[in-house]
């Protein structure tokens, strides 16, 4: 019997990966941001999940506008990163998973979700930065990863309520799987930020705290928003809240918030970390 042990939220911006590569974790700019992670790493090292389902958005590496899935799920044995346009460094391959992945695909279709299924996909910083944050030194190959990509780039995007429902359906799929594995959910990206336009640099700290306050006890307070609401309240890229909601939807049990941190700005964003145990 598999078990969903909990969920983690984290920023995934490229600058974090660069800071880790350069060993800048203790520099004044980064110190407080990175201080949020040791308790999360300790929990992961104690709980030893076998599988991580990582909700992220592709930023134009695997998916261009020619064929951009609304929801995509990987079923590959292995995943690789690649150059995203600024000479990003190659990192060790990410271990995939095929049994639960296909079970989730089957279960989602039965549940009236129709994702794009990828037996090969390059994964970008949206997925790799969180993994490197959780397992410094790229020491992540022991955990099997199932990537779930949500379109956060071109409107129309899935409604926040739909991303939450996708997470719920994935939670049901994991619980109905016969494999005897521990599964953790990662909700990556966010919180408020805007990269584009004359409003570039918009951050809404109050809203970010509100999201973190509501996510565990009252996710409906967040799923009520449209993407148009999020765009205004949280900035153009604030729609990345979708991945937090999918992660939250995939936690079906009694939830306990074990750890929380918020630090802004990191690059252009409000960076929120939450560790949620699912019993």
């Amino acid at each position: 019997m598999s078990k969903i042990i909990g969920g983690i939220t984290t920023s995934h911006i490229p600058a974090i990966g660069v800071a880790m590569d350069k060993g800048l974790e203790n520099e004044p700019y980064w110190k407080e941001f990175f201080a949020a992670y040791p308790p999360v790493r300790q929990w992961l090292n104690e709980q030893k999940p076998d599988i991580a389902i990582v909700f992220y958005n592709d930023h134009g590496l695997e998916f261009f506008l020619d064929r951009k899935p609304t929801f995509a799920i990987g079923t590959a044995r292995e995943y690789h990163n690649a150059d995203e346009g600024w000479g990003i460094k190659p990192i060790p391959p990410i271990t995939g998973e095929t049994d639960l992945s296909w079970h989730i695909v089957n279960s989602l279709i039965e549940d009236d979700f129709d994702p794009t299924v990828c037996q090969e996909m390059r994964v970008d910083h949206g997925l790799t930065v969180p993994l490197s944050l959780m397992y410094p030194g790229h020491d992540y190959q022991h955990i099997q990863v199932i990537p779930v990509a949500i379109n956060c780039e071109r409107h129309p995007m899935p409604k926040p309520s739909r991303s939450f429902a996708l997470g719920q359906a994935i939670g049901r799929a994991v619980e109905s799987w016969s494999g005897d594995k521990k599964v953790v959910m990662f909700g990556t990206g966010g919180l408020s930020h805007q990269l584009d336009g004359e409003r570039a640099g918009y951050i809404n700290h109050e809203f970010d705290h509100y999201c973190m306050d509501q996510l565990v006890p009252n996710p409906e307070a967040l799923t009520r928003y449209s993407n148009g609401d999020l765009l205004k309240i949280a900035g153009s890229q604030g729609v990345e809240l979708a991945m937090w909601l999918a992660m939250r939807g995939a936690l079906p049990g009694k939830l306990t918030e074990l750890h929380r941190s918020y630090h802004a700005p990191i690059s252009n964003t409000g960076a929120g970390v939450m560790l949620i145990q699912n019993d």
């Binding site: 346009g85 071109r154 409107h155 918009y202 993407n227 309240i233 153009s236």
Partner: protein
């Protein structure tokens, strides 16, 4: 309606914008390959012609007019790759779009972020 209206200071990247900007975004997407970055830098104008940019898009690209490129259908995710070719980071691009130096833009972020168009209440 699921397609949001653009709030002030923001160009929502939706279907019509994606149609208008397809060639431009495809050009920027090509920069995932190092060889493409080199080819662009060797002859920017010829590279634009190869992708079939409109005259307006080409002019904006050659001038590094990031706001204009967005108005002509450029997505910030692909324009970020263009910025990478130029050696610019997101804060440099933020400065270009807001008429600030990079340091001024960074200071604004530390100071609570861009409030030029107000702040939207979450209730």
């Amino acid at each position: 309606m699921s397609i949001p209206h653009s709030p002030p200071g923001t160009q929502v990247f939706d279907g019509p914008m994606a149609t208008q900007g397809y060639a431009l975004n495809k050009l920027c997407y090509s920069f995932n390959e190092a060889a493409a970055r080199e080819a662009f830098q060797a002859d920017e104008s010829a590279y634009c012609d190869r992708f079939g940019l409109s005259a307006e898009q080409k002019e904006a690209l050659l001038k590094r007019d990031v706001l204009k490129l967005q108005a002509l259908g450029g997505s910030i995710y692909y324009l970020a790759k263009f910025a990478g070719v130029l050696g610019l980071g997101v804060q440099d691009v933020g400065g270009l779009q807001t008429g600030m130096s990079t340091d001024e833009f960074k200071a604004m972020l530390v100071d609570g972020g861009n409030r030029r168009f107000g702040e939207y209440d979450y209730e």
